[in-house]
């Protein structure tokens, strides 16, 4: 038996099942509803920031005198109340670890989002069609990373469970009040396909894992040896008759 025939046979034994999974999940990505897969079925983007009257609020200068290590101060309006969001350690991206403090812009006091506030922020991101107008909250809880629905998020995050058909889950960053996004049973379903395609069986949200690298190496040999098989089949005239 030629060397590439042997390689083709044994590589197919190793990667065959995963190869079928790759093709099926790839086909799923091609066909899926991207809005649904991203958990955006009932998502409505937060409104642009309303204009705040700063004339009678505490000045950033005064706040920064109290917090000398702040690298970025951001104005924020949460449920009509103006705040200053202070960042002491700014991550490269918002979902990377950030070290925030939230300060009430009227009193200068450190503020912490309460469960009631989180619920209000969450409900404001819910697209209100008729079916959703009666949406109620089942549960609200504070989670620490890793968060199964948003594996990349590295900051503590509130999860708000909505009682609707899609089983919507709304994620709000704990200190900043930033809306991270929605997840629901549709996104969860799509995430299973991503996990399978990326062989991310440890669920760390990455495709740079050793199993995946090993399998990609084997499948590379499978396709290269397959190429030689096609070439020899052509040479031997196996394609001239059925």
């Amino acid at each position: 038996m030629q060397w590439f025939k042997k390689i083709h046979k044994w590589m197919s034994v190793i990667v065959g099942l995963q190869l079928i999974i790759w093709v099926i999940t790839g086909l799923f990505f091609n066909l899926m509803d991207h809005q649904k897969a991203a958990g955006r079925l009932h998502y409505s983007a937060p409104a642009t920031q309303q204009i705040v009257n700063y004339q009678n609020l505490i000045e950033p200068k005064q706040i920064l005198h109290q917090y000398p290590d702040v690298v970025e101060l951001t104005t924020s309006v949460i449920l009509n109340q103006p705040y200053y969001l202070l960042n002491v350690n700014k991550g490269l991206y918002a979902h990377f670890a950030n070290d925030y403090r939230l300060v009430n812009a009227q009193t200068g006091q450190i503020a912490e989002l309460t469960e009631t506030m989180v619920n209000h922020i969450a409900l404001a991101t819910l697209l209100l069609d008729e079916a959703e107008s009666a949406a109620t909250i089942i549960n609200t809880q504070l989670l620490y990373p890793p968060i199964a629905d948003f594996l990349k998020q590295q900051n503590p995050t509130w999860q708000v469970l909505i009682n609707n058909d899609a089983e919507t889950r709304i994620y709000i960053e704990a200190v900043s009040g930033r809306v991270i996004g929605h997840s629901d049973k549709h996104k969860q379903f799509a995430d299973v396909f991503f996990m399978l395609h990326f062989m991310d069986y440890a669920q760390v949200g990455s495709f740079n894992n050793w199993l995946m690298i090993a399998m990609s190496f084997f499948v590379l040999w499978l396709s290269i040896s397959g190429f030689f098989l096609v070439v020899t089949s052509l040479r031997k005239g196996k394609y001239y008759s059925f």
């Binding site: 197919s12 065959g16 093709v23 091609n30 700063y54 000045e59 690298v71 499948v219 096609v230 196996k238």
Partner: protein, 241 residues
């Protein structure tokens, strides 16, 4: 069954084989190179100096009087001075928090200084290009206008500095550019980019499923069946004894 599967596998792979090689080569590249490296995270140090409160002499109340429609206001240190960033009537702006002087769009000199401050490599600056329209494929148009600062270094790194915020909005090197091409080939998007729901991919993937499944049947006949037969022979022999 065996013969049908063999023919199906051989003939379908004559047509699909090239795409399978493309899938495995591009897939291997994408999983092998760390995605954080691809994103260019290691090109920048992400160092930010704290805001010096005593330097601030232009208040936020003053800013609002000068720019009554300012929203999304933020403050940070940029090149050793506190600055405000905000949106005013759909325009992103940056002004000094020392004297309210408008700093945007950023000068070339400032962009160069910021790029060098953030860059982690040893290479020196090659040039800085001012881009206001028709961005290269590696930059999203929403970041315009920008300064593209090219470095004379391994894999041709470029930092894109927003002219309105002074922040590094995008970082690229050749490994990202290759990755982008690899991804397009992987999802068979031979036209525009980022279009995974194209018809070509659908038909090729559907046909591939048939082809790979026929290969699965061949595994059964060439590996699993001979193994179980051999096993059965040994068991039968043992029984006979």
């Amino acid at each position: 069954m065996h013969k049908v599967a063999r023919k199906l596998h051989r003939w379908s792979m004559l047509l699909l084989g090239l795409q399978f090689i493309i899938w495995s080569v591009t897939g291997a590249y994408m999983v092998l190179v760390d995605i954080n490296y691809i994103h260019g995270n290691s090109l920048v140090n992400n160092q930010h100096k704290p805001i010096i409160a005593k330097d601030i002499s232009y208040s936020i109340a003053q800013l609002q009087q000068d720019f009554p429609y300012a929203s999304d206001i933020s403050m940070a240190n940029l090149l050793n001075q506190p600055v405000y960033r905000f949106t005013h009537q759909d325009t992103s702006m940056m002004i000094s928090a020392i004297n309210g002087k408008v700093l945007s769009p950023l000068s070339k000199q400032d962009a160069l200084e910021l790029a060098q401050q953030q860059y982690t490599g040893d290479g020196s600056v090659l040039n800085a290009l001012w881009i206001t329209e028709n961005p290269p494929f590696e930059l999203s148009p929403r970041h315009l206008p920008v300064w593209r600062v090219n470095f004379d270094d391994f894999a041709a790194p470029a930092l894109y500095i927003s002219a309105t915020s002074g922040l590094v909005v995008t970082k690229r090197h050749d490994f990202w550019r290759i990755f982008d091409w690899m991804f397009r080939f992987h999802i068979m998007d031979y036209s525009s980019g980022e279009d995974i729901d194209n018809q070509l991919l659908f038909w090729v993937a559907l046909f591939s499923l048939l082809s790979v499944s026929s290969g699965g049947i061949l595994i059964y006949y060439s590996v699993i069946k001979p193994y179980t037969k051999k096993r059965q022979r040994i068991i039968n022999k043992a029984r006979a004894v």
